[in-house]
């Protein structure tokens, strides 16, 4: 009987039962932090890849013990069985396998594409305004159209005058150098809420895209200091893994952009938080510090949700950008070509 056969198949992990779980350390470069590539092989001969920030040999073993023999298609079911550090990577690797098994890009498994290209943002580098302007012009010539402008924090909290004046001057220098560039403000969670509010109110009429990570998300009530005093959109999320924190930020009305780390959330985690954010009329930005698998995962996630806004990928020069947008892959799975030999030297035992 079909029902019995289906159950027997499932018990044996089905045609795409997980047969191998490996991980490879990739060293930091100028472009990316160190990260780990997770590789999943199936009985059907398919290989899927994902990325996470770090993975110990013990975590790798407990991952392998938990999922070997199980169906690779059960990406939702396997998620809670593995250590938190590897969940995002496992989700992406299993969706890569789903795509390869059905010969279709990951976004199509998930109901996409919801867009035909994904908006890009890049971070500006430089020690002073002149260097930042030079980098802006260089990256604009590479087809970037949106930029994260770093604003160094003041020497001490709540001593804002010099800090705010310097920031406004910096922003105006960028606007003058490239009037059509869109600019978001990168604060790296180093401001006090008061400093952030002072900065944002001063920049408000210059129309920055948003104020990114103005301060640490700790006591959410203090974030009202910023959101009540300024109408500049606020982005948070780089250190937030717990969905409940996003729920609080959204309920309190202190966030306008969920900045989700692909390594932390995987594609499915992004889709779930995006669904929550949708009901608050809030968009999602995607970013990570890793490599090509997380880049691809970000773009598949972007093409699977309605409320994607912008993605900051690593080494965007390696990705095709046209007039400020990444193009989408039409290849099966993640669509990433893998040099397995290059990975091998970083194998985690």
């Amino acid at each position: 009987m079909a029902q019995a056969r289906q159950q027997a198949d499932a018990a044996a992990g089905g045609p795409h039962a997980i047969r191998g779980v490996r991980a490879f350390q990739v060293a930091a470069t100028q472009q990316n932090s160190a990260y780990v590539v997770l590789q999943i092989r199936t009985a059907s001969g398919l290989t899927g890849y994902g990325e996470c920030r770090a993975l110990t040999p013990a975590e790798l073993k407990s991952t392998a013990d938990a999922i070997t023999g199980k169906a690779a298609t059960s990406y939702e079911v396997l998620d809670p069985l593995v250590p938190p550090a590897v969940r995002g990577a496992l989700n992406v690797a299993l969706l890569d396998i789903m795509g390869k098994a059905t010969n279709t890009p990951v976004y199509r498994i998930l109901g996409g594409p919801t867009r035909n290209k994904a908006r890009a943002i890049t971070r500006l580098a430089g020690n002073n305004d002149a260097e930042l302007v030079a980098d802006l012009k260089r990256q604009f010539a590479l087809s970037h159209r949106a930029f994260l402008l770093p604003i160094p924090p003041p020497a001490a909290y709540n001593q804002g005058s010099e800090f705010v004046r310097t920031a406004v001057t910096r922003f105006e220098a960028m606007r003058a150098a490239q009037p059509t560039a869109d600019i978001a403000i990168q604060c790296s969670s180093e401001l006090s809420p008061g400093d952030a509010a002072a900065l944002a109110t001063s920049l408000e009429k210059l129309h920055p895209l948003w104020l990114n990570e103005p301060c640490a998300v700790s006591n959410i009530a203090t974030l009202h200091k910023i959101s009540d005093e300024t109408v500049v959109p606020l982005g948070f999320g780089r250190d937030i893994a717990d969905g409940g924190i996003y729920q609080q930020l959204l309920r309190e009305g202190v966030i306008d952009l969920l900045c989700l780390d692909v390594h932390t959330h995987g594609i499915t985690g992004i889709r779930k938080l995006a669904a929550l954010a949708e009901t608050y009329y809030v968009d999602v930005a995607l970013w990570h510090r890793g490599g090509p698998f997380a880049n691809a995962a970000a773009l598949h996630a972007a093409a699977s949700i309605p409320n994607f806004y912008i993605a900051r990928l690593v080494d965007p020069a390696a990705n095709s950008i046209r007039d400020g947008y990444f193009s989408l892959s039409a290849a099966p799975g993640l669509g990433v070509e893998v040099d397995e030999r290059a990975l091998e030297k970083g194998a985690i035992a």
């Binding site: 059960s74 079911v77 059905t102 498994i109 998930l110 109901g111 919801t114 309920r251 699977s304």
Partner: protein, 457 residues
């Protein structure tokens, strides 16, 4: 008419009437309906400029779409009994590759409206890639302009289910697998309704039947329909004694839920919730009407009895406030109204972030029933699935089995087995439905207080 009685009892006997008496038409033939629309005919052909004006623009995705194209969409009204207040509304979507998908848009008392609502989306959908479900869902919802209502929600639900059915067939996977499931290969825990338990003997028999079938949960209705907004001692005491008797009769190994049918005021409902706390019920459903979240919150904060609601809510937007305020313990959105598989999955994901469980409502036909089973086994926060039937099956299940070759929503060892095969796991033909032609919309029951004023339903 008593809704529960209707579903399993007397009215079902009417299905045994000879087909010739029911109608002179078949599901394939146009019939006259009150809305002036023709649910079974194709909408008029559109001219070239119309496609541009609607903004339906598959050209935007050249190179990124599949080879599948939607070629046709049909809506079927299906009356398995002549006086049904919920003739099924099934949606069939056809593609250029021969793959067809089925979905369900049934909404009680509004069959003609929802068929029209489904067909309103037809011009937009034809020519699009059926795989782009999230994209098409957004367009159907947002471009409907008037949002989050049950009519548009039900129409989208039927279309969304049919698109998922196509996607599963195209990718050769059951829908639950596309969603990352199944959590349990054995199936999905369900609950039946109970009826006819007026005597202790009947209650004992129900307990024995349920336990022998592995059933771990049952839902009961109010002891009578005539509860008032501010109710007095006699009926409040009756309700408590009624539940005490049921708990005593069914024992502790069967979870018991009760549907208050939104009949009492928030405070009076809370009196009941507090007094039945010792019975440790699984939930009280719709203790007050669903529109006012603050009122529902007053109930849930004043009693430990778990509160469930949500069957009348549409889309994630309709559930946002209940979830963010932590008002309910259990959400019961319905796959035929909330926006189909896509929306039920999103609601479950949102609810899970706040540790809220799902007990999806399902009191319509078998296609939505199958669709909800796929979602149930792919979400981490399923509590139990409603099955709008009884421990002893009725005529309805026989007809479903006649259509599909299996009874769709019957538990085996306390679980609904997972559907088998790609997509939703059903094979349905228009011919099979033609035996049960659309008998027109019938209203839901009308309930009045003793003084003739309108009572909640």
């Amino acid at each position: 008419m008593n809704r529960r009685k209707f579903l399993g009892g007397a009215a079902m006997a009417a299905a045994a009437l000879p087909a010739s008496r029911l109608s002179g038409t078949t599901a394939n033939q146009p019939i006259a309906v009150g809305c002036g629309c023709d649910p079974f005919a194709q909408a008029p052909a559109r001219d070239a400029s119309y496609a541009v004006n609607t903004g339906s623009n598959p050209q935007a995705f050249v190179g990124l779409t599949s080879n599948l194209k939607i070629t046709n969409l049909k809506a079927f009204g299906v009356s398995i009994t002549p006086n049904s207040d919920r003739p099924y509304v099934f949606v069939k979507i056809e593609t250029n590759q021969g793959i067809v998908g089925w979905g369900e848009a049934t909404i009680e008392g509004k069959a003609q409206s929802v068929m029209s609502s489904v067909l309103d989306m037809r011009d937009f959908l034809i020519g699009n890639d059926p795989m782009q479900i999230e994209h098409l869902w957004q367009s159907m919802y947002v471009h409907s302009y008037y949002r989050a209502g049950p009519m548009i929600g039900s129409a989208i639900s039927g279309i969304d289910q049919a698109l998922w059915d196509i996607r599963g067939k195209a990718l050769n996977m059951p829908v639950y697998q596309l969603l990352g499931g199944p959590y349990d290969e054995r199936g999905v825990r369900g609950y039946y309704h109970v009826d006819g338990i007026e005597t202790d003997e009947a209650l004992a028999e129900l307990k024995q039947n349920a336990l022998s079938e592995g059933i771990s949960c049952l839902k009961v209705g109010m002891p009578s329909h005539d509860y008032e907004w501010l109710e007095g001692n006699a009926k409040l005491t009756r309700l408590v004694k009624y539940l005490e008797r049921i708990r005593a009769g069914l024992g502790d190994s069967i979870d018991i839920a009760i549907d208050f049918h939104a009949k009492m005021s928030p405070s009076v409902a809370t009196i009941m919730c507090k007094e039945i706390e010792p019975l440790k019920l699984l939930w009280v459903e719709e203790p007050c009407p669903p529109e006012n979240v603050q009122a529902m919150a007053r109930i849930s904060r004043r009693s430990t009895t778990p509160i469930a609601t949500g069957e009348r809510l549409v889309a994630t937007y309709g559930c946002r406030e209940l979830i963010e305020m932590g008002v309910v313990d259990i959400l019961q959105t319905d796959i035929n109204h909330v926006g189909g598989i896509s929306a039920l999955w999103k609601v479950a994901a949102m609810a899970n972030i706040s540790d809220i469980s799902m007990a999806p409502h399902a009191c319509e036909g078998p296609i939505g029933g199958l669709a909800t089973i796929h979602v149930d086994t792919a979400i981490p926060n399923l509590l139990v699935q409603e099955i709008c039937s009884f421990v002893v099956p009725g005529q309805k299940e026989k007809i479903w089995e006649e259509w599909f070759g299996f009874p769709a929503m019957r538990m085996v060892n306390g679980r609904v087995p997972l559907p088998v095969g790609p997509g939703l796991g059903l094979n349905l033909t228009e011919e099979a439905l033609s035996k049960y032609p659309f008998g027109g919309t019938k209203p839901m029951e009308f309930v009045y207080h003793a003084d003739g004023s309108v009572a909640a339903l």
